[in-house]
Symmetry: C2
Subunit: 431 residues, 2 copies
């Protein structure tokens, strides 16, 4: 049985294509999400259907796989079954646990309401709505102060997601929305990227970090590293320099929109197995990806803590894909009573884009930046997109956006959500 239809679960199912097993893949969504492009849904560049494919459809030809839309509540490793929500039990012979990770607010779960994260398609749609509504509310704002607060966007977390969000937001404000408003100048929006550590893109080599920072600053993003968020409230964000004395008063940024791209915490299902977890709630897997003491349970992706040469593997799609496929092959070995093999990560590199025509990447040790890196990023992501259909659609959307500077998917769905925003000023003239 496979829990989770992300990169880990899907690649495991595919690896079992011709194996003499019956596979049940359980996910609480009916789609596989291409998470590296989710920020483009949040920033109105791509439609949900461009970055997601129904899991059933992806696996439709694989007759030994059954897909189940359900939420797993717990794993019972002794009785070897999974408890579903609503209450229901499904037994397994072997289990691959690949349910990924959610956001972590460092113990401040109340921040989530004000500072949504970006993990699911619904998160992406909510974030898109929030960004677009901020501009709408600013257009109707009664005072200059309100307007400024409504046009201030704070992104917390300087990893790839934070950097990509900041770049895309800057482009929306400076280019896509330019001609659309009458009372505000969208290009005056204030975009702030806060990162607690001294560097953006901590996993990247030093020169690339600097290149990313310069690209963002050229787009008008205010980048603050060494800036720890100590509060999120109705008014905005409180932050303090990491090096400052705790007695120093934190500084405030008045902002309507706060986007969370910081810490992750593994899926709570990890806890139900009853093995020790690391600080992020992940299971430290054996070299074979089996869970220590539970030879029939394997893990892959963000729920799995795995170090190679003393360095922990990053939480990226590549790792999840390779682990999923490896765990699946080890399960087949276990069934055949063969010796299991250890997992080794083949690192093809890392990349991040910073808006139109700019990216940084470290590919097979080769460091690339700028326009060429951006083209390579596009090629790579089109290539990796699940399903031939999505590739063409995304290519088309990107070509269109590149030519027109437009973002087509600027729809505020979900009724009446805008009513929370500022009132219309009463000083409006008749038309």
């Amino acid at each position: 049985m496979i829990l989770g239809g992300g990169f880990g679960g899907l690649f495991a199912a595919r690896a079992l294509d011709r194996a003499p097993v019956r596979v049940t893949l359980i996910d609480r969504h009916n789609y596989h999400l291409f998470q590296p492009l989710l920020y483009q849904v949040a920033t109105a560049s791509l439609s949900p259907a461009d970055v997601a494919s129904p899991i059933r459809w992806v696996l439709r030809r694989q007759k030994n796989v059954e897909v189940l839309l359900a939420e797993a509540r717990a794993v019972d490793p002794v009785r070897r079954h999974v408890v579903l929500d609503p209450e229901n039990v499904i037994p397994f012979d072997y289990l691959l646990l690949a349910t990924g990770a959610a956001h972590s607010y460092f113990g401040h779960d109340d921040w989530e309401r004000r500072a949504p994260g970006l993990k699911t398609l619904d998160d992406g749609l909510k974030m898109r709505q929030q960004i677009l509504l901020a501009f709408e509310a600013a257009e109707r704002a009664a005072s200059v102060d309100d307007q400024r607060r409504l046009l201030t966007f704070v992104i917390v977390g300087g990893g790839p997601t934070g950097v990509e969000l900041a770049g895309a937001l800057a482009e929306i404000a400076r280019q896509s929305l330019r001609h659309d408003f009458r009372r505000i100048r969208p290009e005056s929006a204030h975009i702030v990227l806060l990162e607690g550590s001294p560097h953006l893109l901590g996993a990247f080599p030093e020169p690339l970090r600097e290149a990313a920072r310069h690209s963002l600053e050229r787009l008008g993003v205010e980048v603050r590293t060494d800036a720890q968020v100590v509060g999120v409230d109705g008014e905005g964000v409180l932050w303090r320099a990491a090096s400052a004395e705790p007695s120093n008063a934190p500084r405030r940024i008045a902002a309507e929109t706060i986007l969370w791209a910081a810490g992750v915490a593994a899926s709570p299902l990890a806890r139900s197995i009853g093995v020790p977890l690391d600080r992020a709630g992940r299971i430290a897997a054996e070299p074979t990806l089996a869970v220590p003491g539970h030879p029939t349970i394997f893990v892959a992706g963000d729920i799995c803590a795995f170090a190679e040469n003393g360095k922990p593997l990053p939480g990226v799609a590549q790792v999840a894909m390779q682990q999923g496929a490896h765990a699946a092959r080890n399960i087949v070995r276990a069934i055949r009573q063969q010796a299991l093999e250890s997992f080794h990560y083949r690192d093809y590199g890392i990349m991040a884009t910073i808006g139109r025509g700019s990216a940084v990447g470290d590919i097979f040790g080769l460091r690339i930046t700028g326009y060429f890196a951006w083209l390579f990023w596009i090629f790579l992501h089109i290539f990796w997109l699940i399903g031939f259909r999505n590739r063409i659609a995304v290519m088309f959307e990107w070509a269109w956006a590149y030519i027109t500077f437009q973002r087509r998917v600027r729809l505020i769905t979900a009724e009446h959500a805008w009513q929370r925003s500022t009132d219309v000023p009463s000083d409006r003239r008749p038309d």
Copy 2:
């Protein structure tokens, strides 16, 4: 001032392009919806962004137009202002009321929860989710009876929307989902179209009605005309032959999914003006499209009752477009103190599609059916789509769907909504 960014409001704004007026267009959504294709969102063929464009973007170059995202609560025709929600007042010199219509449940508003209609983008997304979840729940159903009920879809209303929905649903079940399930056969889905009058497509000439009925039956849709819905409940639909004695017991169709494509009721804003309304809540406009007794208020589209040669105009996009533009020109005439002109509808014809490669149409009195009619329908709709960008995207989606029989947009968003559906059977085997 224009209330409503549908076909009426948008074409009015465009007609005022070079007029010496300042226009405020108010809509409660930030997008214009191409409603004739909304059923394709509901049936997972098109993404929301394919059938909707941000109103701001459509009107971005028209500097005398200001777009406001807000919901109008009432019109005060004496003080000449519009009351917004949240409480707020905007004065006007001239008003075009073009806020359209919503569904009517013939006094049974409690049916709405079980039998959603199709007017807004959110309606379309909800309907899509409901349809897809029914198949998911059927796959997990514990009994054959449950399965049958979950795979029964009842569409109420045999106008163009009902006919198009029924055709698209039949294709989803028979083609798109064919290989995706393991426990159910999606092609065994039972699709019933109920129409209270003796004919489908009442506005079409007789031979075309018959052609549409045959096309639907060829797709396996059970068509029941003369069938009046007298009840909607948790189990399904109750209906009775229109000709039957009232003492006859109604008949029941056990169905999880009931889709409402029947009566319409004009936007409640019509009531606030204080003029007599017709049975559907619409304002009977003067020949100039002005509201009787209120020379500064005009109406266009579904909120306007207008008869020509004793025949009421249908509630279609063409009428709204032409009325919107005409009302706008009359407002300019009124400002210039010129005589107003009467509205005359130029009828280019009507069309409806019935699934892949089949349509019926009455174009300039020419009756067409079958494959040629379908090609013509595609051409017409691509041509009318607002915004060059959407045309290409939609053309691409359709070409893709035609070649592959697939529907790409099969995403169930909105978290946990599936939990309402049937439990997983407890007799599942281990995998």
